[in-house]
């Protein structure tokens, strides 16, 4: 053999030398508690830190921690409390007046007063300034200064949910700074008045928040307790989990159920699950040009509602924190109720009977569109199969699915909706039954009732109108309400952390154990 002739060193020696280079001393990972820093990883980067110029959840989270709003919605009591405003009153159907707090300073030292509110609101309400989510601001007619600490806000139409928006996405910017640098400057060097200030920001990579030492005492939010928050944008969920497992992360959210179940077994981690305002439901296309004309038959729609075993799917697949819905809205939303609405219990025998009565004793074929939580869609498909309905799955990106719905190509859609965390049913039902592009029912009576509810400031009139609309939708099985979606958080054992339905991460409340 040739190698004998060459007579080189023994191969074992070479392999050993290669391994030797890898030996090093294992260094323990730095936990966040030691340097008083919460390390939070999120999979998307916001397009802008200015809350008006982005539309992803992480931007909303940064917004609430760095900026303040006029009013604050206490997530524990669902009560409105004054934040930048001391008090307010509804003057007439379209007018609100606010008395502002004195002595509050923005992170750059600029004083907060009526100018801040007036400039910010008039700027964002102007469509030429192209705020990304127009629905958040296009109800504002104008803001007027009545005194150094007094402002008036008028709405274009009667807009009952105004406070809801003023407590959520509509943050207040420092007038002088914003006038000078605009949204671009607020993105590169963000300045707010909230419990945290931005100390470092690398777009697309990370953002670091530091405690605002001068945060005002009477804020219902309360001052931040933990010194620093380091938010890193890590697109891969496995990597996020690896950061948690290696001790270099303190908090991640939107963890899939199976991974959360695994993480629960790790001694250094805790898993917190919570219900969110995001609801799942099934749209049934009953328009004239529906690809599945069978859906126009009430008995078929009722059969579908009876065929889906929502209790079991919630228990086994959706997981802790979720509940079954009987009305297509989130229960805490103003006007949301399932009182008097028909409930459809899981009853495959009845479903089959209804299908037979409708002329489909052997079921029929159709298509179901979906864009997230595929395992839930598959469970639904399985349930439908059991009563003879063969639904072919088209799973796609949200935008593609939405194209199909609007073009009238979708028969069944496994849809979800988060209402932008707005705690009022006007942010939910009208989108799907108000006669606009995503409405695949176009029922005139429901449309009228929703209009009545949307255009009144009398809570009783609104409640009654919404209840009638929801009852009509349920009685006619225009859609199948499914369940609420939970969110799983994985956090370091050392962190005191609470989950809320609005999916807001309130860093200012967090403490170390």
């Amino acid at each position: 053999m040739e190698r004998r002739k060459w007579g080189y060193a023994k191969p074992g020696l070479i392999a050993g030398a290669a391994l030797a280079g890898l030996l090093a001393i294992a260094a323990p990972a730095l936990a966040g508690k030691k340097d008083d820093t919460i390390r939070f990883a999120y999979d998307q980067a916001p397009e802008s830190v200015d809350p008006f110029f982005q539309n992803v959840r992480i931007g909303v989270i940064i917004g609430a921690n760095v900026w303040d709003t006029l009013v604050y919605l206490d997530p524990k009591t669902n009560e409105y409390k004054g934040l930048l405003a001391k008090s307010w009153k509804q003057v007439d159907d379209k007018t609100l007046e606010f008395d502002l707090r004195e002595g509050i300073k923005f992170h750059n030292g600029e004083d907060f007063d009526a100018d801040s509110v007036v400039y910010t609101l008039n700027f964002v309400a102007n469509p030429n300034n192209k705020v990304v989510t127009q629905a958040n601001v296009n109800w504002i007619d104008k803001a007027t200064k009545l005194g150094k600490y007094k402002v008036r806000i008028t709405t274009k139409e009667i807009f009952p949910a105004a406070l809801e928006y003023l407590a959520g996405p509509v943050v207040i910017h420092p007038a002088k700074y914003y006038a000078e640098v605009g949204p671009k400057g607020q993105n590169t060097k963000p300045v707010g008045s909230g419990p945290y200030r931005v100390s470092n920001y690398v777009p697309g990579k990370s953002i670091t928040l530091e405690k605002n030492p001068n945060y005002f005492k009477h804020s219902p939010k309360g001052a931040a307790k933990i010194n620093k928050v380091e938010i890193r944008f890590i697109p891969d969920r496995q990597t996020q989990m690896a950061e948690m497992l290696s001790g270099n992360g303190d908090l991640i959210m939107y963890v899939p159920k199976d991974q959360a179940d695994q993480a629960a077994k790790v001694p250094s981690l805790q898993v917190v699950s919570g219900e969110t305002m995001r609801i799942a439901f099934m749209q049934l296309n009953t328009l004239a040009n529906t690809p599945t004309p069978a859906l126009k038959d009430l008995r078929v729609r009722k059969a579908i509602a009876h065929a889906i075993d929502r209790e079991s799917i919630v228990k086994n697949i959706v997981g802790a924190g979720s509940r079954v819905l009987h009305s297509q809205c989130f229960p805490s939303q103003f006007g949301c109720t399932d009182q008097g609405a028909t409930r459809y219990a899981y009853d495959p025998a009845l479903a089959k009977k209804l299908l037979a009565e409708a002329g489909f004793p052997n079921g029929f074929e159709t298509e179901i569109f979906a864009y997230r939580e595929r395992n839930q869609t598959e469970a639904i498909i399985n349930n439908l199969q059991q009563v003879g309905i063969k639904a072919k799955l088209t799973f796609s990106q949200y935008a593609a699915m939405r194209d199909a719905i609007r073009a009238g190509k979708a028969s069944l859609t496994h849809q979800t909706w988060g209402s932008f965390s707005v705690n009022d049913v006007s942010a939910s039902i009208p989108v799907w039954f108000g006669g606009e592009a995503d409405d695949v029912t176009k029922d005139k009576e429901v449309e009228e009732l929703l209009k009545k509810g949307n255009n009144s400031v009398d809570p009783n009139v609104r409640k009654q109108a919404y209840q009638q609309a929801l009852k009509r939708i349920a009685d006619n099985a225009f859609s199948v309400p499914l369940w609420t979606l939970p969110v799983y958080y994985v956090a370091s054992k050392d962190l005191n952390f609470e989950a809320y339905p609005d999916e807001m991460v309130r860093f200012w409340e967090m403490t170390w154990k």
Binding site: R3, I14, E47, G204, D236, A242, S246, V431
Partner: protein, 305 residues
């Protein structure tokens, strides 16, 4: 030689143009950008406004020619998502990706040259078979999976390296291994084949007959000649690694071009995606061209045919 270079150059330009056209069409066919830009809660009117503002309502050929014309004049457009000029955004991320690409290719060479030589010298022994097994594994193992294995071992179990990020050199170790290992087998097989051929040659027998030490014969005389095709392959592989770093950068959250590409795909940020594809294809074309020319220079038979 001059004619040959001109011919290759023309071909390279045609390839770059074709790639830009295909990329443009594929990106547009993947969904309506206006809906993606407008976001989940947008009304039909908002979407129409976006469609018109960005010119998505014009015919595709018009959009393409408009884009190409602007690009040739040096106007690379603005990122829809980050709302800043696309060119500086992309160039800022190029450094990290270049660093990763170069370190990966060096890593690939660092393991494939010794292993290739070993496999050739101890041909048909268990060492050769071990090297072959390593090569097959490197080629067969998806690099995202290999990356996760690395994270499990080096970060979670041993705590030697940080999981993700791009701040220190330690952050580059695992991505380099994951990406470089994938490129190594091609080199390894090429070196092994080259070495086996060279070791049979008469001048090697002469060198050994002169009584030169085995290491001198192998590394000074044999490897030098066996390594010529490797240089050309390295250029092409580098282009391949730069383009192939999307997955690795995403897994390790390395703030480079691949990560930016991933983000812009998620947000349907057409100007950024388009320019990244263009930049990567131009780099690839240039590297291929360089390797063609280097080959032709080294081997006259190529440029004559």
């Amino acid at each position: 030689m001059g004619g040959y270079i001109l011919k290759r150059l023309g071909l390279a330009l045609a390839v770059a143009l074709a790639v830009s056209m295909i990329a443009f069409l594929l990106l547009r066919l993947s969904g309506d950008p206006a809906i993606a830009v407008a976001g989940e809660g947008a009304r039909q009117a908002d979407i129409e406004l976006v469609r018109h503002t960005y010119g998505f309502d014009r015919p595709l050929p018009v959009q393409y020619v408009d884009w190409l014309g602007k690009t040739l004049r040096g106007d690379f457009g603005e990122s829809i998502y980050f709302k800043q000029p696309a060119a500086p955004l992309i160039l800022a991320k190029l450094e990290v990706t270049m660093l990763l690409g170069l370190s990966s290719i060096l890593f690939a060479l660092a393991i494939s040259v010794p292993l290739g030589v070993l496999a050739a010298v101890y041909r048909n022994s268990w060492i050769d078979r071990l090297c072959l097994a390593l090569a097959v594994l490197g080629q067969a193992l998806p690099n995202f999976f290999f990356a996760l294995l690395l994270i499990m071992l080096l970060s979670i179990t041993l705590h030697w390296l940080p999981v993700s990020g791009s701040d220190t050199w330690q952050h580059f170790v695992m991505p380099t291994i994951a990406l470089g290992y994938y490129a190594a087998p091609a080199f390894m097989r090429l070196i092994r084949a080259g070495m086996i051929e060279v070791l049979e040659a008469d001048y090697i027998r002469t060198a050994r007959a002169k009584g030169l030490p085995a290491s001198t014969v192998i590394f000074k005389h044999a490897l030098r000649n066996a390594a010529v095709p490797v240089v050309a392959l390295a250029a092409v592989q580098l282009g391949f690694l730069l383009g192939g770093s999307v997955v690795i950068e995403t897994i390790f959250a390395l703030d480079g071009l691949g990560y930016l590409a991933y983000q812009s795909i998620t947000f349907k940020d057409f100007p950024v995606m388009q320019n990244i594809v263009l930049l990567l294809s131009v780099i690839y074309v240039v590297l291929t061209l360089a390797s063609d020319i280097a080959n032709a220079w080294l081997d006259p038979r190529i440029r004559v045919s």
